[in-house]
Point group: C2
Chain length 132, copies 2
Amino acid sequence: MPKDKESPTTKMPSEMLTAHLLALLKNWSGYGYELSKKLEEAGYGGFNSGTLYRTLRQMEKTGLISSLWDTSSDGPARRIYSLTKTGSLFLNNWITLLDMHKATLNSFIKIAEKATEPSDNSPNGKAKDVES
Amino acid sequence: MPKDKESPTTKMPSEMLTAHLLALLKNWSGYGYELSKKLEEAGYGGFNSGTLYRTLRQMEKTGLISSLWDTSSDGPARRIYSLTKTGSLFLNNWITLLDMHKATLNSFIKIAEKATEPSDNSPNGKAKDVES
DNA sequence: TTAAATAAGTGCATATTGCATCTATCTTTA
DNA sequence: TAAAGATAGATGCAATATGCACTTATTTAA
């Protein structure tokens, strides 16, 4: 892998969108415009196309996906993306992380519920007033 | 332009961290330093303290939490945060969103698995080579 | 009196995003 | 046939967000 000279930090793009794109590309190859339509169909719209295309290029730079031009069909050329091994691992990991995230949230919430059982509703300490 | 009254876009801070903080503040009041320790205990460390404090102030600006200074105990003053009604709704909504997110991921993955049943592993179309 | 812990924050460089716009290819329609 | 629209991917710029190091301040421990 060329690893190009993006020397300092090549950061992962926005996690939610990345995860959806990886899932769509699981065992399947597609191009940006197509992916954006599928995401919108699935109710995951709201981003602008620029963000999508930039995210895809960024994912490619970090090795989650790879691309090649498809000029075989009519219309503008399409950049076809496929999942890499890394991308596949990342997707599995993300799903595990999601579960952990939710478990932590729930544990926090449950701890909070327990802590307030003796109906102590007042904020702790003698607190002075707000200031900006 | 100073942008001052932050009229147009006051964006939500990084979603994961926000969600954890909201969960910790559910039915409970705490301050930044304390929250950061709890997050680290729960295995959710890795952010630096600056990010945490800035996230909290940002959450306050968007109305998810509210704060007041606590000077009642020894040591440096503490900014005590509490969940607002908005924050509570946001937290519930986030948990729902997480479920939807995971459901969508799984549906994408399952569709992909079905689509490849006839063992067609080749990328679609006659694709030309990559270019940067 | 010095160091370390607690508590909250700032400054600056870099990264990411939103919004508008651009290029280009092909199809539809007036 | 000219104009408009859909498809496809991308960029420029301003506004935000983030990482990293550093600062300020209060109190306790060495």
